[in-house]
Symmetry: C2
Subunit: 229 residues, 2 copies
Amino acid sequence: MSKCEQCIIRKFSSLRALNKEELIKISGCKTSKVVKKGEVLFEEGDYLNGVYCIRDGACKLTKLSANGKNHIVKFITKGDLLGQRSVISDESVNLSAVAVNDMEVCFIPRDEIMSSFKENSEFSVEVVRDICYDLKTSDDVTVNMAQKNVKQRLADSLLYLHDTFGEDAEGYIKIQLSREEIAGMVGTATESLIRMLSEFGKKGLIEVKGKRIKIVSILKIQNVSDGIV
Amino acid sequence: MSKCEQCIIRKFSSLRALNKEELIKISGCKTSKVVKKGEVLFEEGDYLNGVYCIRDGACKLTKLSANGKNHIVKFITKGDLLGQRSVISDESVNLSAVAVNDMEVCFIPRDEIMSSFKENSEFSVEVVRDICYDLKTSDDVTVNMAQKNVKQRLADSLLYLHDTFGEDAEGYIKIQLSREEIAGMVGTATESLIRMLSEFGKKGLIEVKGKRIKIVSILKIQNVSDGIV
DNA sequence: AATAATATATGATATTTGTCATACACTTCG
DNA sequence: CGAAGTGTATGACAAATATCATATATTATT
């Protein structure tokens, strides 16, 4: 079993604030596992008894909406921690987590996290800072969802994907989602999304090759997002 | 100056987890003030050096959207704490706070909050629990904003207002907002909102008298929110 | 390789929502 | 009291978006 003290991944999350003893203790009780693309880490309503540290791969956090569509709220990628909110507030998770590519994750039991949270104020401040950041972001997204039209929201989603996953050698965003999934991020009908994607393509904002999308001009997409025509 | 140890309001927020010494210390350095309806507590981008404890009245938290409209994200009312996110994560606030009726608030300096946060784990857990709850709620709202149509969102907003402010003797929701403000909660044009309000009125879901709104049937409004026609 | 299943694309049309114009109601303030 | 300003309401129309139908492409399965 790999040792947390030597794991670089922890440096990317609030786990960086843990001291050596804490890391050794966690090493002893954590479990590692592989999650294949499409597999479910947890579902809306589940209670987690620990947090996941994402060593590789990514998952989507989704919520089933009132009208039966799966909305992708955000993606969790390599280096991120998953499930802190639920563990700390001792509530069920409100989102489902599904792998969007093959993942490698470590599971750290609840008790370890909570004891560090209570005893190591540097760690607790870090954790809270993360959650606060998420809250701020979520409020911003709420406003965008409420006030922007579908075209603007698609621009936002493309920028978010680009930001989160980066580009491959050819400049394509390093994640492949179905049109239905993207529609579920934007909050629109799949057909509408497809039309808008090809519109963006025709206008030279993006290049589409199957499921792969390349942003031609970040600036132009940003202008669309800001409603600058 | 009133004493925090004797103040009942603190029982409604995470401040309930503070011990007597902490409360006495806060009593000595807190300031109280009255904020008149329409006055601004802080604006998007400000740095707060403390948190507000709302002793009476309410304020709206708004954000200016890309298209220039003021979106009301939520209301903060009697008993709530305001500004913890910004203080703990040491970032500027992302929302503006404007009184929607006359308020009485106490201001607790940053240092007091942070020292209790670091030393009193019961308090820090409470604070984080609150922020986690807000995060969960915010994600839920995001999904609703993205997936529901204007009619459903209006139903949600009415239920939220009813929940947050309660009813007066005649059954009207105990807050008076302009049509423009409600439109800014729902994320729609003011004219569309006005039309929909009168549609709700004609269908007997609500009763409207000037700025005062009465929900006739919570159940029916809930059905609208759920898209059950 | 052929077939089935699924995803993507596009047209036609209905519905929803936004915009602009205008009218009316209500407040405020000199 | 009356004028000016603001908020609310409504009609007419335009634009955005959803829905349904269907075609075509892509992937999976045998």
